[in-house]
Subunit: 205 residues, 2 copies
């Protein structure tokens, strides 16, 4: 019903401007972070976005190209989030990680823990995805890990890259469980033990 009302407010033929493209990406991210790639059809994205099929194919030659753009948009959004939290020099490095984790939890709570991480979803689904997604997904994880390793280096841990890989491996597992259980508990349980580990390994705070 809500969708119906929203769509009625729009002109029947959306102009081919950047706002249609932006809307398709926003709606695509919503559906794919909830349900992954394979179970989401282009038609339901068009319907939800209130954008005609022609506009979609104007911007994206195929669902596969659309998915790639979603990966890039999600990566840019998330990198920005990480850099904002990790670059907040008014906080200690540990507090900066905590502030990212709290933000991520609030983001999941806002959508009742129905949306997970696009990169985690696609990583898990990779066996059924276009093969060119693989390198892209690996690259995104690596980028997030590099940003995190720089933070851990400030804590003077032994091997910041290895610990950043460990964090992202576990964090993606925690997001999966939070979405599965519709609860913040898996995020908090993971974070609690990870902070203890960080405290043991870091010589700074």
């Amino acid at each position: 019903m809500e969708q119906e009302t929203r769509r009625r407010g729009r002109p029947p033929k959306a102009p081919r401007d950047q706002s249609s493209k932006h809307m398709l990406i926003r709606v695509g991210l919503k559906h794919l972070t909830e349900r992954g790639y394979a179970s989401v059809g282009i038609d339901e994205i068009l319907k939800d976005a209130g954008v005609p099929k022609g506009s979609f194919y104007h911007y994206f030659p195929s669902k596969s190209d659309f998915g790639l753009e979603l990966i890039r948009a999600y990566d840019a959004y998330f990198r920005d989030k990480l850099e904002t939290h990790f670059g907040n020099m008014t906080l200690s490095p540990t507090e900066r990680l905590r502030s990212f984790i709290q933000d991520a939890e609030a983001g999941m709570a806002k959508h009742s823990f129905r949306r997970g991480c696009l990169i985690g979803n696609l990583g898990q689904e990779m066996g059924g995805l276009p093969e060119n997604y693989r390198a892209e997904i690996i690259r995104v994880f690596q980028t997030w890990q590099d940003i995190t390793a720089a933070l851990f280096a400030e804590l003077k841990v032994d091997d910041p890259e290895a610990l950043a890989a460990f964090f992202w491996t576990g964090w993606e597992g925690a997001v999966l469980r939070a979405k599965l259980e519709h609860s913040a508990k898996p995020l908090n349980s993971f974070a609690e033990i990870f902070f203890q580990l960080l405290q043991q390994r870091g010589t700074a705070r």
Copy 2:
């Protein structure tokens, strides 16, 4: 070609015996651990298993029921694996965990790291799955965690349940990355830091 040869060896109408059911479950596990639920069709499972559609619907009213049976079969198989490794009293508790991890790695290597964990795959896909899968997937994770918590209790760690949840959260993330990267490295990197954590927290070995 290989499939073709295998199918030619079977009678055109497979009898409705337990071996057809067993074959469907075996082939289903292969496809779903590779590609998840949504992107796998019943038809390709029938083709690969060399079992006619009628036999499938004799055993499973729907794809959704088939998926539930796969979850149960995978859980039984995996519980047995955990109990075998963790119950091997000739090894120390830490060595028993290592023996499970090595077995899991060998299992992934055997299929060139193309197959992941069915429960992790389905957990990630849950937003697009039949809703009755949710409780089942949560239950399976809890069972594996309980078996693991009993092992950690032998190491006299502070909160074995929390540490077992942490292990499974991270391990599922590691399996996801190993499948994504077609490599054992994510499993080993995760295990290495986890063993250090275990050593710090446990007063026994």
